[in-house]
Structure formats: structure tokens, C-alpha cells
Amino acid sequence: MASEARPRLAVYKFASCDGCQLALLNLEDELLSLVGEVEIAYFLEASSATLPGPYDVALVEGSVTTAEDVERIRGIRKDAKYLITIGACATTGGIQALRNWKDVDEFIRLVYARPEYIHTLKDSTPISSHVAVDFELNGCPINKAQALEVLTALLQGRAPHLPPHAVCVECKRHGTVCVTVAQGIACLGPLTHAGCGALCPAFNRGCYGCFGPMADPNPDSLTAHLLDIGVPRGHIIRLLRGFTGYADTFRAASEKLEKVAQ
């Protein structure tokens, strides 16, 4: 793309840990070429100098948890040609969506000395619950190579190559031994969108579902099997309610397990 009209990029943060923005900064070598191709007009994590909108691309990290967030995301949407969510929080509500199953006011009373200073919504919701989103990049944090692929695809006017299959495919391509079959460890890999490189199973841990549900997963079958092999129901519910626990598939599966338990 010609340098005279570099697309203008803005990066925003909502309720989040900044890890996805750090993943962008961790692009290092590629970051230099990225700066050559796009104008980074607004990215507070990287520079306090900002340029006014409108922007061609808005990358949004974090979930919506306050009334101000709701207003701010609408403004961002208006200012941006393309809005891309980055990470589990922005795409599914994040780990902070655990509050969605609980009484937030009770948390506030327990945690804060002056609860009246705290103004928050009752739930943590993904960006797509509030405005139209052009592309959702999942992960906790995002995979920086995938982020680069999304931006590259956008610059080149093509669809990004982000295969929608299960984490299991990545385990098998790496030769990782299945932790569920060989060790009886509960793993969300068969339900979870690939992208992390199957990191956790490579270290003998079950998948935590950071990259959210894959396209048409079958959670009922997996949870039934995990119960069969002796994984406690509460453990499966907690596993499903992880970093992307509020994503439709995982939410429905955990609520179903909870209902049966009652």
C-alpha cells in the first residue's frame, strides 16, 4: 500500500489487563514494518501523543463494564471505518464476566471500604453486545502472529487466514500427547478455537479455552464424557467459566451443568 495514504490505526482499552496491547507491542520486528504501513494515530499504551480521528481501523481491547464504557464504545464505532476486537475480554466479556453469574453489589460491599465510590454495570459484556464489530480476534492474550495476519489481510483487502478448527489439531500437529486420554486431565481443547499453538497441553495442562469456542463445537458430549471419567462437576463448571466463559457455547454448557446439579 502506498505510503502517502497510510491507513490510520487506533488502539483502545476497556476493562482488561493490557495483555493484548502488550502482545501488539511484542510484535517487535514486525512493529517497525507495521509503522511503515499504517499510521498509529492513537495508542496510549505505546505513546501519549495522539492524533484526532476519524481512523481507518480501531483495535479494541477489554469488555464493557461501566455506563461510560457504553458511551465511549459508541463514539469509537462512529470514528472508525473498521472495528476489530482483540482478545477474550473484548470478544467474550473476559474473566471479569464471572460477575455475570453473581451479585456485583455484594462483591463491592465486601471488597471496597467505600462502596459508594464504585459505579459499575451488573455485567461484563463483549463489545459486540453494544456496537457492530467487523472482526473478532480471540485469545487471552491474542496471538501476535494472528493479530499481524488480521492487519495484513485488512491492508491487502483479503480475508484473514485464521482456521476455525479445534485446539486438538494444533496438539496433534505438534505431536503433543492428549492429556485427557493419556492422563485423564479435563481439557477444553476439543471445544476451543485454535490459535494459541496448544500451549497448555504441551505443558501437561488441560486447555482453559482462552481462544473461545470454535465453530460448532459439541460441549454436551465432552462434558458428559468428563463426568464419566470422574472429573467433578464443579471442576468442569469452573473450567468452562474461564477467560471466555461468557461466550455463548461455554456459558450454555456451564449453566446446563449447574442446572442438572441443582
Partner: protein, 288 residues
């Protein structure tokens, strides 16, 4: 034409996955969102030795974007120029859509089976196409025009969603003058459309032909082809004389990747042109 110096270090020229470089000689808008790209191989030897048959396809490649299977739509008697009529439908085809005359593109091919132009010599032909499905049949039409007397009655039944989606409309008169009965319909007309409105298989009712000596060649959406087959069988055209061109996902085009399987058939090798009798048990099975 570009004078670009094209290099390709191929230590293993037998690797069927390596693209061969071609340049775009011409780009012609063909219908709404559809253009015809004329390609020639960059290597003069390759250009001279290249040949293809009506119905075959090439894999077209753009670095970073990927590869896509596209039927050859030009005259097999002039194989040095390879036409590909391409709709901006996916990621790769959109990237190809942005190319200009002189640009380079990767080509592998030709692959796949051909329309039975020899086996049907002397018979009547009903050629039935829907939308972009006329592209792989254009080589058939151009071949017939070269030796029109070698065939009996030849009818083209063609339809598209709207008049703007019809391919090669500027050639229809020439085809008619050459002795092909061209019948055209659209699903949705517009203000200027004075032709027929309705689905393609209905065009069977407009033709008079001796079905005993007739073969059918069809390409289009599978649902359309299903009704074309129905109409053909209803007219007692034997299954063995019905030929269809099918589309499946293709990654390698040489039978290694497994993507294009349709029952026992690899669409890239035994297809895309298939005899209906051979695939009847599987054709139209839901999600097969």
C-alpha cells in the same frame, strides 16, 4: 505485455505444487463483479507446449492470498492464451480482481477431466448453464463453432440471477450465427430486460430436439443441475449421456489433499466433468 524478468528456481520440476509464472495479457469485464483474465505463460517454451481441453481448470495463485481453482474458459484450439472468467467471490478471487494487465500470477494446470466433445460427435447437444457456470462451457461452444457440422442440433440453455449476471452476452449473436440455438432466461428481470424470466431447467420446454440422439452438458449451482437432470431424464435422455461439472473445495488439484472428494470421486482428477451415471448414487445426497 510486461517485460519483467521472471525467475523460478525449480530443482524438482516434477513438484506439482509449484506454480508456473504467467502474465496477464488482458482483463475484460464480463458481467457484474465478473472479469475475464487472459493469461500467457512467461516461459516461451511453456507457452508453446501448453495445451488444455474444454472443461479443465487451472489453479491460480497469488502470494500471501492463496490459490483458487478456476475453469479455463477460452478456445482449446488457441491454448497459448488461457482465459479465466472470475467472479469476486472469495478472498483469492477478490485479490485477482485487483490485478492489471502486465501483472504476474502463478498458474498450475491444466487439471481435471474434459467435456466429451469427441464421444458426442454426431449427436445433438443441449448445453445448460447457470450463472458463472457458463465459463467452463464456453470452450465447448467455441470448439463446436469450429466444426459445427460435426454435431447435430446444438442448444444452449442459459440463465442467471439478473441480466447483469449474464456472461458473454456480446458473443451470443456470433454463437447464434454459428448455428447454436441460444435461449436465455433470468430469475429477476430489470426495466430493460425483454427476455424470459424463470429458472433455467424450464427452458427445456422451449426446445424441440430428438432426445434419442442427444447429450446434455451442464454446469451451474447443484440445485439447478439436479433439475436439469430431472428434465433430461424425463425426456428419456439416458444417464450415460448426461455430463455435469461439479465444484468442491480444492487445495492441491492432484488428489493429495483430500478436500474435493465426492464419494469415490476426486473432483480434481476424475472430475470436474463427470458422467451422471457414474455418480448417480451420491448426487443430491444431503451434505454429502
Amino acid at each position: 505485455m510486461s517485460t519483467a524478468f521472471l525467475t523460478s528456481e525449480i530443482p524438482n520440476p516434477t513438484d506439482p505444487m509449484l506454480p508456473h509464472l504467467a502474465t496477464i495479457q488482458d482483463v475484460k469485464p464480463t458481467a457484474a463483479g465478473v472479469s475475464t483474465f487472459s493469461l500467457v505463460f512467461a516461459n516461451p517454451e511453456e507457452r508453446a507446449n501448453h495445451c488444455f481441453q474444454a472443461g479443465q481448470f487451472n489453479m491460480l495463485y497469488l502470494p500471501g492470498a492463496g490459490e483458487v481453482a478456476i475453469s479455463l474458459s477460452s478456445d482449446p484450439a488457441q491454448p497459448e492464451v488461457m482465459d479465466h472468467t472470475i467472479r469476486d467471490a472469495g478472498s483469492v478471487t477478490r485479490a485477482i480482481g485487483r490485478l492489471k494487465v502486465g501483472d504476474v500470477i502463478g498458474v498450475r494446470g491444466p487439471y481435471g477431466s474434459a467435456w466429451p466433445l469427441n464421444k458426442t460427435l454426431g449427436s445433438n447437444l443441449v448445453i445448460v448453464a447457470g450463472g458463472i457456470g457458463l465459463a467452463p462451457l464456453r470452450p465447448v461452444i467455441l470448439s463446436i463453432l469450429r466444426q459445427r457440422s460435426a454435431y447435430g442440433q446444438v442448444v444452449l440453455l442459459y440463465g442467471a440471477r439478473t441480466p447483469a449476471d449474464l456472461l458473454y452476452t456480446d458473443e451470443f449473436d456470433k454463437w447464434r450465427q454459428g448455428g447454436i440455438d441460444v435461449q436465455v432466461t433470468v430469475d429477476l428481470g430489470d426495466k430493460s430486460w425483454r427476455g424470459l424470466v424463470g429458472v433455467v431447467p424450464q427452458l427445456f420446454y422451449r426446445i424441440r430436439i430428438d432426445h434419442k440422439k442427444t447429450a446434455v452438458m451442464t454446469c451451474g449451482p447443484e440445485i439447478m443441475m439436479r433439475f436439469v437432470i430431472y428434465e433430461a431424464l424425463a425426456r428419456r435422455i439416458p444417464k450415460e449421456r448426461i455430463f455435469i461439472s461439479m465444484e468442491r473445495n480444492m487445495k492441491c488439484a492432484v488428489g493429495f489433499c483430500g478436500h474435493c472428494q465426492f464419494g469415490p470421486t476426486f473432483i480434481c482428477k476424475q472430475g470436474p466433468v463427470l458422467n451422471f451415471a457414474a455418480i448417480e448414487p451420491f448426487f443430491g445426497k444431503e451434505d454429502f
